[in-house]
Symmetry: C3
Subunit: 138 residues, 3 copies
């Protein structure tokens, strides 16, 4: 079964979507199986990261912004704005899909793991993430 | 069910394999479920990226070539040629497997998303990608 | 079905876990299907890489250590030690989940592909990896 999450973002940054995935699993009633998270964009991506200390997320963003700066002379794809090509590169370096085992009705995430949508553009608007749920077939 | 795609590549670059995945889904008759794309190599990788503007792909390749150049003094693994170690590093930074939800007989890709094989070596030859198809079991 | 592998690591490095995944598949008796490997940490990650020549693994580690050094002035998340923030960044750049097709009782890995846990911290201790097994349902 597939569910489309529509997520409103307000510019570059990490958006914790863990609770939305949990809500979908609970409402669908998946007890044992696998959930696959897929993002339908090429200038935003997915990340599993520490959800405890905001400084880890801030450093992650700052580091990637330094590695992939705007206005790099190398870019020829500039018609959609200075944040567009860096967003494609950042997306290529991170994940478009993530698969997480489910047991006892809960994702088997580690203690400090959260699932994030990583918006790489400055724009505000809507992003779509698909959740695919598979039951265990053992 | 698993299908092996044999793909001929002609040196470094992004090869759009979206249509080949679609053909396999159609011929297998997967209506609702999940397709997993897996590459059987460590010097080529998978990527979901914009398929509309070739300049985005060109910049992506140029950027990664600059980040991971050939003939870096750091490399000790040089016996297979100057493009071999950069190819392993580029593969590590991108994807070996991708999972894409399927609904109504079609992958739930975004409007501008294509699936690419990213060849990181200069050689011409054959690469193998496995497609695993799972039916929804709801 | 989900299995938790408990793995002992002795500091930074690549740990080949291919044989442990094979053992689990064999003991569970998965003939056709998909195995998903998921790591329950944000300072260690997963990698599919060449298992033949140790120099490729050494260069991969050396390259990533140079790209993401300790004691970068950019870091503000330093309370857990100088290796913690680099470990989060390295994990973000590599994989938290990998899905590998299974056929004839074996993973469809390429000739030189191994599955590795990539420990990014200096500590010694235990890491947990979940294996999710799905039967083909065709």
């Amino acid at each position: 079964m597939n569910y489309v999450l529509k997520l409103t973002v307000g510019g570059q940054g990490l958006y914790d979507i863990t609770h939305k995935v949990i809500e979908t699993l609970n409402s669908a009633g998946l007890d044992e199986g696998l959930v696959t998270v897929f993002i339908r964009h090429t200038s935003a991506s997915l990340l599993i990261q520490e959800n405890a200390d905001p400084s880890a997320q801030r450093d992650l963003e700052a580091w990637l912004n330094r590695l992939v700066p705007e206005n790099d002379e190398l870019y020829t794809h500039t018609v959609e704005g200075p944040d567009d090509m860096p967003a494609h590169i950042k997306s290529a370096l991170t994940a478009a899909s993530l698969s997480i085992p489910v047991s006892g009705g809960a994702m088997m995430l580690g203690n400090w793991q959260g699932i994030f949508l990583w918006e790489h553009r400055h724009h505000r608007g809507e992003r779509e993430v698909v959740l695919n749920l598979l039951h265990s077939n053992w």
